[in-house]
């Protein structure tokens, strides 16, 4: 169990840490985008005095950046909502920006790089066109194949970004690709959704608490190769505990929704990961019912090992982590598309291999 995980489970452990422990901890926390979460945890447990001052500076620096990005995201959302309101398209916000507008616990420390919205499937093209008329453009070069990939197979249109701003806007019409193993009836999500008054007088919808957690689980364990990483598991645990504190029947509600929406498997992965790594402690009855959604034992063991390599490596840059990521990458495609479609997709991607994303273009000096 790595130092970041040990700390997230039992913050008082920092009393025992020496210089080398801190030096192993910081890259893990930074890479997992959990510096802000760690700062809050240290403050909450009155442990800041134990932390070397230069590291406190790093934590505060990270939180300063997070606050800025949060404001940018909310402003972007206000621009988007204004356009959608005009078109009479109801915006439902997802993930990070939903936690922000609802003032849920992760909003205190959580960074975000884009805003995710759900709109009704029949409205998504109209929403995209309306945003296009107001200055949003595709955020990259999407060729005909990419267009076809997004529009016919995925649950979103190609990501948009306003030409004068930086935050990406992802328009979805569902929580999982229509071609994937999980089929979600979006109408059920809309039926349970909540109206929230957010900052700047914005009124938007969010998913109901149980659906919000299920989306976290689907996103992490089905859509991408665990890209949200440990940060998303921390969100899951924090939100689970928050909703349970508000409603003693939350566990049953969550199980009922997982059954109704057909996403018991991702719920199983999310709960077992949050329990293994972060000490989530739901009731025994809940755990027993979640266990029903587990895959066959060998598959469950393999996934558990893969998840641990990716989310809790002893240090960064291990070859084992890279290998686990490769397998998860394959798996994420396997659960996302039927085999024939997957084959065509991979061949296309191989032919059109991408250039490295970052360049040294904007360095000072």
């Amino acid at each position: 169990m790595n130092l970041l995980i040990q700390f997230l489970r039992r913050p008082a452990i920092v009393h025992k840490w020496g210089v080398e422990d801190w030096n192993r901890f910081m890259p893990l926390a930074r890479n997992a985008r959990l510096l802000g979460r760690c700062l809050y945890l240290l403050e909450q447990h009155d442990l800041l005095g134990v932390v070397p001052s230069r590291l406190v500076d790093q934590l505060r620096g990270a939180l300063n950046q997070t606050r800025y990005v949060q404001v940018q995201a909310l402003r972007e959302l206000r621009h988007v909502v204004r356009v959608l309101d005009r078109e009479d398209i109801p915006p439902l916000v997802l993930k990070g920006v939903a936690y922000l507008v609802s003032g849920l616990p992760p909003s205190r420390w959580r960074n975000l790089s884009d805003i995710d919205l759900l709109v009704p499937k029949d409205d998504i093209v109209r929403a995209e066109q309306a945003l296009g008329r107001d200055g949003w453009q595709p955020s990259g070069d999407f060729d005909a194949y990419d267009q076809h990939y997004y529009r016919d197979w995925m649950h979103e249109v190609p990501p948009l970004v306003h030409r004068q701003r930086e935050i990406e806007v992802d328009l979805h019409h569902n929580l999982a690709p229509p071609v994937s193993r999980i089929q979600i009836n979006a109408a059920k999500l809309w039926a349970d959704s909540l109206l929230v008054s957010g900052p700047y007088g914005m009124v938007v919808r969010t998913l109901a608490p149980a659906d919000m957690l299920l989306h976290n689980a689907i996103h992490l364990f089905m859509n991408d190769e665990l890209r949200g990483g440990l940060r998303d598991v921390v969100d899951f645990r924090d939100l689970f505990e928050h909703f349970l504190a508000q409603d003693a029947a939350f566990e049953q509600l969550l199980l009922g929704r997982a059954r109704a929406l057909g996403c018991g498997r991702p719920l199983y992965y999310a709960v077992s990961t949050a329990r293994d790594l972060l000490g989530l402690a739901p009731s025994a009855a809940f755990l027993a019912e979640v266990e029903v959604f587990a895959p066959a034992a060998p598959q469950a063991r393999l996934m558990r090992w893969l998840i641990e390599q990716v989310m809790a490596p002893a240090r960064l840059g291990l070859r084992r982590t890279a290998a686990a990521n490769q397998l998860l990458f394959v798996r994420s495609h396997w659960v996302r598309m039927p085999p024939g479609m997957l084959f065509r997709h991979l061949v296309h991607k191989m032919v059109k291999a991408k250039k490295p994303a970052l360049s040294a273009a904007d360095l000072p000096g």
Partner: protein, 300 residues
């Protein structure tokens, strides 16, 4: 053949950097610039854990390349191996610029006289690096040629003496100004053209934990053939220009607004057009002397 990997901890002002490499020529150059920054005690809390290494495979022999790793990740494409030192310097700057939001980061040279700080903000090409270099060659204490690091709650300017990258004709300008200037190797082909770094002087390095109070805010502009002209600058305009020259002004929001406003309030503000480096330096040294280094600064 590469040596066993060296593992060094370097002071870089408020940061400590762990550098690992087995590239002998890179380590030589690093030693030339930062021998005085190497920590022999330890262990230390590491702010940036950097590794400069050669990629595996054929590339080790054919047009060799160098990789910059931070926390075992690789944010940049490989660079030509001969540019290992500039790659390290840019990489470290990138690490600082993208994470040190604990500080207000001015895109400015900064030099101290005693405890009084002179801030020289400016775009690339304004001559702030060259001026900072020349001032330190005449006894000014180098805080930074590029990053004016400010603690927003106390407005102290922090020192982070590093090699000053002189670009293209600035190299000759500095050698003409001081033929004994300790310059490192020439890098003929970098992204910024021909680059040669000036080694920070021993006193600046020894005093890198000593802060300074902002006293002068000078916006330099190199203009070929111009007569040196130091002209007072209206404070509201100084505010606008300094805010514009912060790496993280928008990011820090109100904190940055207050800090920039207070810096402008407590400094004498000027624009400075110059063409002859020797005269420019005399004029700025005169300014520092005339105002007196500790008139209302807070010595520490």
């Amino acid at each position: 053949m590469p040596l066993a990997e060296q593992n060094l901890t370097l002071d870089a002002g408020p940061f400590q950097v762990r550098v690992r490499s087995s590239d002998p020529s890179f380590l030589d150059t690093l030693g030339f610039f930062y021998r005085g920054c190497v920590r022999h005690d330890g262990p230390h809390f590491v702010d940036f854990d950097i590794r400069i290494k050669r990629p595996r495979g054929l590339r080790r022999w054919l047009q060799p390349q160098v990789l910059f790793e931070i926390d075992a990740l690789r944010p940049f494409e490989p660079q030509p191996a001969e540019n290992a030192f500039p790659t390290y310097e840019w990489g470290l700057n990138w690490c600082i610029a993208t994470s040190a939001h604990r500080y207000l980061m001015l895109h400015a040279g900064s030099v101290a006289f005693g405890d009084a700080g002179m801030i020289l903000p400016g775009h690339p090409g304004s001559g702030k690096s060259t001026l900072s270099a020349a001032l330190t060659l005449r006894g000014g204490r180098l805080l930074s040629d590029e990053f004016g690091l400010v603690r927003p709650e106390s407005l102290e300017l922090l020192a982070m003496p590093r090699g000053i990258p002189l670009k293209n004709t600035s190299i000759e300008a500095i050698l003409e100004f001081d033929s004994a200037a300790p310059l490192g190797p020439t890098y003929p082909k970098t992204r910024k053209g021909r680059v040669r770094h000036l080694r920070p002087d021993a006193l600046s390095v020894a005093q890198q934990q000593r802060t300074a109070t902002p006293r002068w805010l000078v916006f330099p502009r190199y203009l070929a053939g111009a007569t040196e002209n130091l002209a007072p600058l209206d404070k509201s305009e100084a505010f606008r220009q300094l805010a514009f020259n912060c790496f993280n002004y928008k990011l820090l929001g109100e904190t940055a607004f207050r800090a920039v406003a207070q810096i402008v309030r407590q400094t004498q503000c000027f624009t400075f057009t110059y063409s002859r480096l020797d005269r420019a330096v005399v004029q700025l040294m005169d300014l520092a002397q005339a105002t007196g280094p500790a008139a209302h600064g807070s010595p520490r």
